[in-house]
Symmetry: C2
Subunit: 340 residues, 2 copies
Amino acid sequence: MTAQDQSAYREFYRGRRVMITGGLGFIGSNLARLLVDLGADVLIIDSLIPEYGGNLFNISDIADRVRVNIADVRMQSTMGVLARGREVIFNLAGQVSHVDSMRDPYTDLEINCRAQLSILEACRMHCPGVRVVFAGTRQVYGRPDYLPVDERHLVRPADINGVNKAAGEYYHLLYNNVFDVRACSLRLTNVYGPRQLIKHNRQGFIGWFIRLALEDKEIEVFGDGQQIRDFVYVDDAADAFLRAGAADTCDGDVFNVGGCEPITHRDLTSMLVSEAGSGSVRFVDWPSDKKRIDIGSFYSDSSKFQRAVGWKPVVGLREGLRRTLAFYRQHMSHYVEPPS
Amino acid sequence: MTAQDQSAYREFYRGRRVMITGGLGFIGSNLARLLVDLGADVLIIDSLIPEYGGNLFNISDIADRVRVNIADVRMQSTMGVLARGREVIFNLAGQVSHVDSMRDPYTDLEINCRAQLSILEACRMHCPGVRVVFAGTRQVYGRPDYLPVDERHLVRPADINGVNKAAGEYYHLLYNNVFDVRACSLRLTNVYGPRQLIKHNRQGFIGWFIRLALEDKEIEVFGDGQQIRDFVYVDDAADAFLRAGAADTCDGDVFNVGGCEPITHRDLTSMLVSEAGSGSVRFVDWPSDKKRIDIGSFYSDSSKFQRAVGWKPVVGLREGLRRTLAFYRQHMSHYVEPPS
């Protein structure tokens, strides 16, 4: 791919009317920042549900260059109004806690399954021709049969969140194939970086580990720490959305978006504590509620997406952790609850 | 497998407290008939929604040997009361029209996806140790990559009904793996036989074709009629449920339940008209709403289920059609709407 091809997807967004559901959240707000720099007309939708990842501080530096509309994706009529005239929808709103999904499966269903249908129905009726890029998840694969996991691996979710995200993804593909809605899904692996929720530990472990390291606390790693994961720095994840949103080649398909350096929890936490210069690691037994939905080692093969749009992760894990630590050192007060 | 092994699963049901959701419907009522003959304590749950397949006539000959409770699986509290003390639940209640699911995706979602979660939550809370056999569908595979389709084929639904049935199935497997609910899914191919809904043509084509043949009308076959399907006679399908409900080997897994004689629509309708001695066949262009969700040829490989429990279909297609035609000839008035 030439340098010109490589930048064409960025040119695509100049003056483009885009919408980001979950746009005050972690990935959504970083994506919004890239989009305003590319000259896009950015509409951010977010419910700001207190326990979720939306945070107005996430866009404080670009607040005068985006439009923010507080709304819940579960309201189909509202989505119908908001989607009108949009050319690309980055559909990132979701309930992302696996543990919460097991305690309250219905809320997870309403947001990750039913609301997705509402968004797509809104597009079908009010916004034909729109392209939707869905934030899928590697969670749909469950405990893998082989590593690295590619898109030929069976979908076999190990928790409620995975089931509902799978259904939400299937809806997108179906609306692409049957109705006038172009859609694809990016199955994200563990994403990390600035602006991630770290006020509680129920939305993935990486952000929580970073907070503990910065607060010079003990990081608890379950089991022997030999479980492997791959990690994507948030700028790389946001770049994946940009590329998929500009590419006809992605319509109707699913793509893994994973990291380049699979690493054990043991080595990850060691690297993190070393980079932070604070915190420590302790290995503890698995809590039963987490063990029941654990999937063992996982890392994904993103070569299909690389072939389709030329994407690959460019920020290495150590560098990504450095940037993330620096961000939270500066802005920690905006990401933790005020002392009660 | 010895003759003794072969009958052990039938002995299992003597005095067994079973529940059949959708038990007034097509497969459910035929299963109920087998179960009462085996000495089971049968509780039938059905909503009798007018457009769906439930029909009190379906159990008129065994009405004094079963308990019927009219209820909707969408009501979790009701399901919690009814599930209490049941040892095996045959979970067949569903919205089964692919075409309706595209017109009204929310109702399909409520019944095939959300209600399944309700049933499983009811089991988890009120009925630990129960075994649930879920009526899955080959529809979850969508348009197949290869034939015959086995369980290693990707789940890639081609219509809303397929998405929601896939999610409902995933919930069952998840509750098996994580909670104290044993569950498996039988992915049924096209089932036919006595007691199927034939009052409208939105629940599969085979019952409708049988009605048209009996009424000496024209059967419209879409396209050139070369699309292949496999068919399972309802007694064979009911036997599959009996075997799965009695077998530890099925827990947590999915199994295709397909027919032994894949056949083109052309040959099927020819055989049907010949056996009925009435009706005719006409080849017509695909209607657009059906073409959009058509999956081409499909037939399934059921050898995994055969290995697990010894099941195989025993009623051939011609014999099955004969029995079905004879049934409707005798009872047609109970299966068509009264003239308005």
